[in-house]
Amino acid sequence: MSTPALSIKGLKKNFGPAEIICGVDLDLEPGERHAIIGPNGAGKSTLFNLISGLYHPTEGSVKLKGEEITGLPPHVINRMGLSRSFQVSNIFANMTVRENVRCGVLYSLGHGYSFWRNVGNLREVQQKTGEVLERVGLLDKAHLPAALLPYADQRTLEIAITIAGGADVVLLDEPTAGMSHSETDRAVALIEQATAGKTLIIVEHDMGVVFNLADRISVLVYGQIIATGTPEEIRGDPRVREAYLGDEDEQQVLAGGAQ
């Protein structure tokens, strides 16, 4: 078995007396698409914050491609090849769409804190920025200030910034939240295409998206993973059904019904 792209062991996080993440173990194969589902407040975003370095775990460890990243600051983890998006769009609102994407590109192309180059003359940066914009379909809106984008486009930009740096482990936190059906379909196609060959963890409430996209699914409830498996296994898992009991829609999807 190859080194897992991401390996989480005994991860715990307390906020004061509240245990939000209570012992999560998870190994991701390189190239795997892994979905995390679970009810509101289960700790999905907190898990992302722990993995990406925004929060420090109370206990446990996270390894990225075999390297310990527990306790490292977010920018270091990002440089090691892990990138994430946010549930609430977290973009550079005063900049144009193109500048937003460029912010995501600069470091990965080795222009870190450079103060001796003119960004306008960086061919590679320009090229990469253009490619990302084209790929996500924001090329025609490149010159709009990000704050003026319609909601769905802001979500797309969020993804664009996340993938711009070329990280090979990508964490997406509810990328389709609040999108219409057609917008969701487009976003899913984009995610599929943009993360081809990469390791993806996606938090998603839309079961249709989850079962379409994921190789494996983990169910997070009250800070614990109660089940991990292929979509078929999860569908049939009685504990998962129990966790979602009462939610008719989800029940239907889980049962493989009307879709």
């Binding site: 990406s52 370095g53 925004l54 600051p73 977010p74 920018h75 990002n78 440089r79 990138s83 994430r84 946010f86 977290n90 973009i91 550079f92 609102a93 005063n94 900049m95 193109r98 500048e99 460029r102 912010c103 995501g104 600069l106 470091y107 990965s108 222009h111 870190g112 804190y113 450079s114 103060f115 001796w116 180059r117 003119n118 960004v119 306008g120 960086l122 320009q126 090229q127 920025t129 253009g130 490619e131 914009l133 084209e134 790929r135 090329l139 490149a142 910034i161 996340t162 711009a164 740096g165």
Partner: protein, 423 residues
């Protein structure tokens, strides 16, 4: 997929015409203005005014690297100006002394480079602890540092020269560009050169990856971490550059005035540079330039006319903060926008109405202040504009004050009603 990779995205960058119009032309205009000024045969006063403006332009621009571009509110930016200036003066004296081969061959013209280096060094040392914080803690630290350095300035007499400061003589050492640095014309060329270089340098900085990430960090310090940047590192580097360019301005000042006192490190000039940048407009690159020109003018001209000029400065600042947060530059570009998009006649009329209203009310306020200041001084002096006699007990004074206030108020009201009518 493969075919995409050969596609070029050069069309995404601003077109050549736009680049020339927005980046090249302004600097050509600036250079032409700087070159033409001496041909109008300015008086000594005008020369010293332009010199002060040049120094303040670079100083205010360097301050805006922090406030406008980096989102860092500093109350102690004069520290770097002052330290750079002192360093330049000491270097000037070393040139004069001629004890070392290096300094005796160093032209006074190049002293701002010394200011730049020492400003950067001071920024690197002081910024190391202070840039670990942002927001309010950063502002408080900058205030503390300013107090501390100014106090040290008064204490360490051998370096800062005590109350009297350190003086120098700029007509020493080898000449550069055939300038003896004696006559005001020579000093003018020196100031013009460094104003241009400083402005160009600070502008160039905004175009670098670090400059861009400085803006990104200002807007969203959380997100920059997830594209590989340490926001504290970005702030620290920006801080060093801001210190360096402030030091450059300090070096210009050292050569121009041939004196630096510990006062120059204090909160007073730190506050003034904040006002220049803010009144000019921190969201625009040219804002601090406009603010520096305006405030320097007010400082030297208005202070001759009225001892209450600081009061007017305070009023201007408050008015800008409350009603025109874009500053002078915001108003100028706002007007240009209206002109460009023609057809917005109502908008223009409203702006004129507002301007008239503000001018009227302000005139009332000026009369009130000028009358009151003279009365309060108690020397029996009386405000006498245009041959009028306006004492505190003259009815005409009060009629004028209330009349102007009233007229201004009504005009502003009209403008606002118009606005609501159109909204």
């Amino acid at each position: 997929m493969q075919s995409n990779s050969v596609q070029s995205y050069e069309h995404l960058a601003p077109s050549r015409a736009v680049k020339i119009r927005q980046r090249f032309v302004p600097f050509v205009v600036m250079a032409v203005v700087l070159l033409l000024i001496p041909f109008f045969d300015p008086s000594r006063t005008m020369y010293s005014l332009t010199a002060a403006m040049g120094i303040n332009i670079v100083f205010a621009l360097s301050y805006n690297m922090l406030l406008g571009r980096g989102g860092l509110l500093s109350f102690g930016h004069a520290v770097y100006f002052g330290l750079g200036g002192y360093a330049a003066l000491h270097a000037m004296n070393a040139i004069d002394a001629g004890n070392s081969a290096f300094w005796s061959n160093y032209p006074v013209f190049m002293l701002p480079v010394v200011g730049f280096a020492i400003g950067a060094l001071a920024g690197a040392v002081i910024g190391w602890p202070s840039c670990k914080r942002s927001g309010v803690p950063f502002a408080m630290i900058s205030l503390g540092v300013a107090e501390l350095v100014a106090a040290a300035g008064y204490m360490f007499g051998s370096i800062f020269g005590g109350e009297m400061g350190v003086t120098g003589d700029r007509m020493v050492g080898p000449q550069a560009f055939g300038l003896s640095m004696g006559p005001v014309e020579d000093v003018y060329w020196f100031i013009a050169f460094w104003t241009f270089v400083g402005t160009l340098g600070i502008y160039a900085f905004t175009r670098t990856p670090l400059g861009k990430m400085s803006e990104a960090t200002r807007d969203n310090p959380e997100r920059v971490q997830f594209v590989g940047y340490d926001p504290n590192r970005v702030r620290y580097l920006v801080f060093i550059f801001a210190g360096a360019f402030a030091g450059l301005a300090g070096g210009m000042s050292a050569v121009n005035y041939e004196i630096f006192t510990p006062e120059s490190l204090s909160l007073v000039p730190s506050g003034l540079v904040l006002l220049m940048a803010y009144i000019g407009g921190i969201r625009y690159f040219t804002g601090p330039i406009m603010g520096a020109i305006l405030l320097t003018y007010m400082q030297s001209m208005l202070s001759d006319y009225s001892e209450a000029w600081l009061l007017y400065l305070g009023l201007l600042f408050i008015a800008i903060v409350m009603y025109a947060p874009g500053g002078v530059a915001g108003m100028v570009f706002g007007l240009l926008e209206i002109f460009r998009h023609g057809g917005a006649r109502e908008m223009l009329i409203r702006r004129v109405q507002q301007a008239v209203g503000v001018a009227l009310a302000f005139t009332g306020l000026v009369i009130l202040i000028e009358v009151a200041v003279r009365w309060s001084n108690g020397y029996g002096e009386v405000f006498e504009p245009f041959g009028l006699h306006l004492g505190i007990d003259t009815p005409l004074s009060w009629i004028l004050i209330l009349g102007f206030f009233g007229a201004g108020f009504v005009t502003l009201r009209l403008a606002r009603n118009n606005e609501e009518g159109h909204a």
